[in-house]
């Protein structure tokens, strides 16, 4: 079953064309890694899927729903969860309240049940003991895990990760990629923008290389990382792997 399908997507900010005709299909249970230079349009692609940016051309389908149709665009949030580079936890709410907010306000689940589900979501990321903590009292890694729990609690079919570990100190990266690995093993459909090449190789079913707003090359990690065919991919991988 195709969970996400982009068809010839064009996205511009004023005069700047950022996505220049992107085609991509993601099947259920697939983990797709997105790599590419800074500014190539990776974040924009995820944000387009999550209806955070309007597009100027093409189609975006999520579970058969046309997200490019403004009337139906907001339905995407029922099926897709997103994790941001800067966590974007709500600083005035505890970890648990961050997780239960949408359960109560969007899904209209009563407080007791929402709480139970929230604690369960925090447990999945190993933070049930931090339920009462405010974001400022948590480390970066813990904050990002709460952000993952916040998305997971809504039982999404797809998770989008936009450089979820880039804002973290190196020693905290592992706890977040650990949670992401576990999610992948449980069969979650995932689109992951990352610079963690080890993670990409181990967990990815497919790697997509974006170059200047277009998909320049894609394939299984074993092939794309070892013998890329596009010279731009080669160049990019060389720079990333020989930092």
């Amino acid at each position: 079953m195709t969970m996400i399908e982009l068809k010839n997507v064009h996205k511009s900010f004023d005069d700047l064309e950022v996505l220049k005709g992107v085609d991509l299909a993601v099947e259920k249970g697939e983990v797709v890694i997105i790599i590419g230079a800074s500014g190539s349009g990776k974040s924009t692609m995820l944000r387009v899927i999550n209806n955070l940016e309007p597009i100027q051309g093409g189609e975006v389908w999520v579970k058969g729903i046309p997200i490019h149709d403004p009337k139906r665009a907001d339905e995407v949030h029922q099926y897709v969860g997103m994790v941001f580079q800067q966590f974007n936890l709500f600083p005035h709410l505890t970890a648990l309240a961050n997780v239960t907010l949408a359960l109560q306000k969007v899904k209209k689940i009563d407080a007791g049940e929402a709480r139970r589900m929230g604690v369960a979501a925090l447990k999945r990321v190993g933070l049930e003991d931090k339920a009462g903590a405010y974001p400022a009292e948590l480390s970066g890694g813990q904050q990002q895990r709460v952000a993952i729990a916040r998305a997971l609690a809504l039982e999404p079919d797809v998770m989008l990760f936009d450089e979820a570990t880039s804002a973290l100190d190196p020693e905290l990266v592992g706890e977040v990629t650990g949670v992401m690995r576990q999610l992948a093993e449980e069969g979650m459909t995932m689109l992951v923008v990352t610079h963690e090449m080890g993670f990409a190789r181990d967990v990815g079913d497919r790697v997509v290389f974006i170059d200047e707003g277009q998909i320049a090359e894609e394939g299984p990690p074993a092939i794309l990382f070892t013998s890329p065919s596009n010279p731009r991919t080669k160049q990019f991988l060389y720079r990333v792997l020989h930092r």
Binding site: V80, G81, Q86, K105, R150
Partner: protein, 216 residues
């Protein structure tokens, strides 16, 4: 005579104190309500409201409160609204003026909430209204509170201008006492002390809130 005259006038002083406080509290309530509405509407960037709200702001922030108050007081009489009480005229002028200043505090507070907060709220499916209500405004209030308290200090002091249209707040009662017993230095010092006792604690609160906001 000496200070005895002032002690004898304490009843008048107290009336002035109560009147100043009444006008201040009424303005705080109405001015904050007006400022919140205008600030939220401006932050929402609604095209049709952009120009009128901007004109309201420019006029009330770019001209003296005293002129606004005289305009409203004499203007009401001119338009045939006879017997508009000095209290009402003062309250309307103060509300419009402080409301303009307060709206900018709210607008800036709303815009100071990082963009990512709105996006995260959208991506968990909250509606436009829910985003404002549960995510943006609670954060706005902690940002807005220190300058808001600071504005209230200015507001309390601004009520003194109502003396110009004959409202019997502290300064005017002070002048009335001076007319009777003289001793302007002593009387004004006492009145200054009363203002200080109201405003200084508010300054301390504002400063503490500001420190806390910086550490949060």
């Amino acid at each position: 005579m000496g200070w005895q005259g002032i002690i004898d006038s304490s009843g008048i002083l107290f009336t002035g104190f109560v009147n100043t406080l009444t006008l201040s509290i009424a303005t705080i309530i109405l001015g904050t309500a007006l400022g919140l509405v205008v600030g939220v509407l401006r932050a929402a960037r609604i095209p049709a409201l952009r120009a009128p709200l901007r004109i309201y702001l420019e006029v009330f922030r770019g001209s003296p409160l005293l002129v606004q108050m005289l305009f409203i007081y004499f203007g009401a009489a001119y338009l045939g609204l006879r017997g508009v009480e000095t209290f009402i005229a003062a309250l309307v002028a103060l509300t419009l003026y402080e409301g303009a200043l307060i709206s900018e505090i709210f607008r800036a507070g709303i815009e100071a909430v990082p963009r990512g907060q709105r996006e995260a709220a959208r991506s968990i499916g909250l509606s436009r209204f829910q985003i404002e209500r549960y995510v943006i405004l609670p954060q706005t209030f902690t940002i807005v509170l220190p300058p808001l308290v600071g504005q209230y200090i200015g507001l309390v002091k601004d009520t003194a201008l109502a003396t110009a249209i004959g409202y019997f707040e502290l300064v005017r009662e002070g002048q009335a006492i001076i007319d009777r017993i003289g001793m302007p230095i002593e009387v004004f010092v006492v009145i200054a002390a009363i203002y200080f006792v109201i405003c200084y604690p508010m300054s301390l609160v504002a400063r503490r809130l500001e420190k806390r906001a910086l550490h949060a």
